[in-house]
């Protein structure tokens, strides 16, 4: 079965005052029908730029997709007309952004915004759109949808705004939803509500979900497969269980050791990753993680490691066999 989305060797660069920043530097991953794929990484790792590139939402200048393929249903989105792209965005692929505060238009009612994708992509009359909106708001459990339709974003709480964003994303029953840090701005108890909602609605509609986050707990709970990004590249990917139970890239291992967990030995010392994240306008030679890596060898300083197979479905970009090291 061919995957729903296949990203091949995606390269997105940004022209800054300090030269070219390779924000996404040869990223490949795929998303199958109905599954949840996580992209994890820290700020500047290129996870959001990857997502924006899939939808060709990279502002140019300064950004530019300079290479690769984004195959959605077999069609390369990097080579379709802009008009066709508009037909895909919000319709077959929807995006849910981090900041429900700034991603909603403050001067339009919630109903108007949730209804917009329907209005654009489906031939429904006013009454039909209205009914569909109410149904969507009900689906994301916004209470009293008939009335709330006429409210403005500022009259909604953070969680309710994110529900409205999800309703908007679901409007045209997309095959793929990209959620970029969907709960980062929300309180803990609301975060749990929104993630459960997202899981439930994607399961109901059998759409696929790309979950972009820095929260390893969220990934563990919701993702089927995981891509770990560092400095514009995927350094490890595989099934979630594998990545957590036997990570093979020193960066993934470092991340797992550096976070305090609710079920660890309280008061034990954390093992941080040394050093600082790379300056992307002047990235290190060879493997971009080598200046922070505990297993660094001469080869790592000189040559960029390609993704190599650990076992079926589990890949890592590292020259060193971490298991032999321990």
């Amino acid at each position: 079965m061919t995957p729903l989305l296949e990203v091949r060797n995606l390269q997105t660069h940004s022209n800054t005052g300090n030269g070219v920043v390779k924000a996404v530097d040869g990223v490949s991953f795929d998303v199958r029908e109905g599954e949840t794929v996580a992209i994890v990484g820290e700020s500047g790792s290129g996870k959001s730029v990857t997502a924006m590139s899939v939808l060709r939402l990279i502002p140019n200048p300064p950004g530019q997709i300079v290479g690769g393929e984004v195959l959605f249903d077999g069609e390369d989105l990097l080579h379709v007309q802009e008009s066709e792209m508009r037909d895909i965005r919000g319709n077959r692929i929807a995006m849910i952004f981090q900041e429900p505060m700034t991603s909603l238009n403050p001067v339009l009612t919630i109903g108007r915004q949730v209804g917009e994708p329907i209005e654009i992509h489906q031939s429904l009359d006013r009454k039909g759109i209205l009914e569909h909106c109410i149904e969507l708001l009900r689906k994301v459990r916004i209470p009293d949808p008939e009335k709330r339709l006429h409210a403005y974003p500022h009259q909604f709480s953070g969680g309710m705004r994110q529900r409205a964003m999800i309703a908007m994303g679901l409007a045209c029953e997309p095959r793929l939803i990209i959620a970029d840090e969907p709960t980062t701005a929300l309180d803990v108890t609301v975060q749990a509500q929104i993630l459960e909602l997202l899981k439930e609605v994607t399961r109901q509609s059998t759409s696929s979900l790309i979950l972009i986050t820095h929260d390893l707990g969220v990934v563990a709970r919701y993702a089927d497969r995981v891509n770990v990004m560092y400095a514009g590249r995927i350094v490890e990917h595989g099934p979630a269980r594998e990545i957590y139970n036997s990570p093979k890239h020193p960066y993934t291992i470092g991340l797992m050791q550096s976070i305090p967990r609710l079920d660890d030995n309280a008061g034990s010392r954390l093992v941080p990753i040394g050093g600082q994240p790379p300056d992307m306008s002047n990235p290190p030679s060879g493997c971009p993680f080598h200046p922070r890596c505990p297993n660094v060898t001469d080869r790592c300083r000189e040559k960029l490691p390609p993704l190599s197979k650990v076992n079926d479905g589990h890949w890592k970009a590292c020259w060193v066999d971490v298991d032999a090291k321990q």
């Binding site: 108890t189 509500q193 820095h214 707990g217 305090p260 309280a266 008061g267």
Partner: protein, 327 residues
Amino acid sequence: MQNSSPLLRLTDLKVHFPLPGRLLSRDTGGVVKAVDGVSFEVNAGETLGIVGESGCGKSTTGLAVLRMVDVTGGQIEFAGADITHANRQQMRPIRRGMQMIFQDPYGALDPRMRVRNIVAEPLLAHGIVSRGEELRKQVAGLLDMVGLLPSMAERYPHEFSGGQRQRIGIARALALNPSLIVCDEPVSALDVSIQAQIINLLQDLQKSLNLTYLFIAHDLAVVRHISDRILVMYLGKIVEIANREDLYERPMHPYTKALLSAIPVPSPDVEANRDHELLEGEVPSPINPPSGCPFHPRCPSAMPDCATRAPALTEHNGHSVACHLYD
């Protein structure tokens, strides 16, 4: 220096903010009870964690301790002295003993000042040393203490990463050799791989300098890691205080239980067997808080009594909780 009296004691602290009234109206607009009757003690050398969701009053409590907001009622005692009504002049020497580390390492440092001057500022402002060799040495020592190179003193904040900036903020807080440091979300703006560096640094400094921390954060895993005792707040009130073990192993308040249940553990195996008890709704507006127990509209165990009568904080074997389930 083990003292029998606590380093910090808050008694029935209230911080209310007036809301703007309507123009040409007698309507005064009411008040937001950001902190409403909070009492706790912090002993020298310990870390008290304060957790809660946005609007619970945890940051305002921290600011009130430093007298950086006006206190509406109650009492703040620091090192045995009542500082509730100390004026600006009286506060100056007291503030040498209490410092703050802020959340946003970008906003907390003046972009036009060299690191040298940022770290030296408190020393000069309090007239501890004057400019010259001694000051330069002290700044170098402080930078070294937080893991920065003395040569970095000549740089500006924008030349540093988030984690390094937080180190500069910590160096500045340590300059006056304080006994209490209020840490307001000190790691939440940092990347995961950097958080651990700063947490370890804070723990090391606490040990070597016998510091006392009031550690305010929303991340319960981080708070569990660093705190000896933890206080949970909801809408301006304390709902539970206990030592770390008790709070995390045997949470009593339904809100604490829900908070702990809402956080996913970074392990797919654990998560597969874990039920998340979802709370209904969101934190209500502190402008118009619910009657009785402020948590009752979202509480899965709410009883009729909860809507009318506010529960008092009561102690059960050193574990205090404000909930009618334990009356």
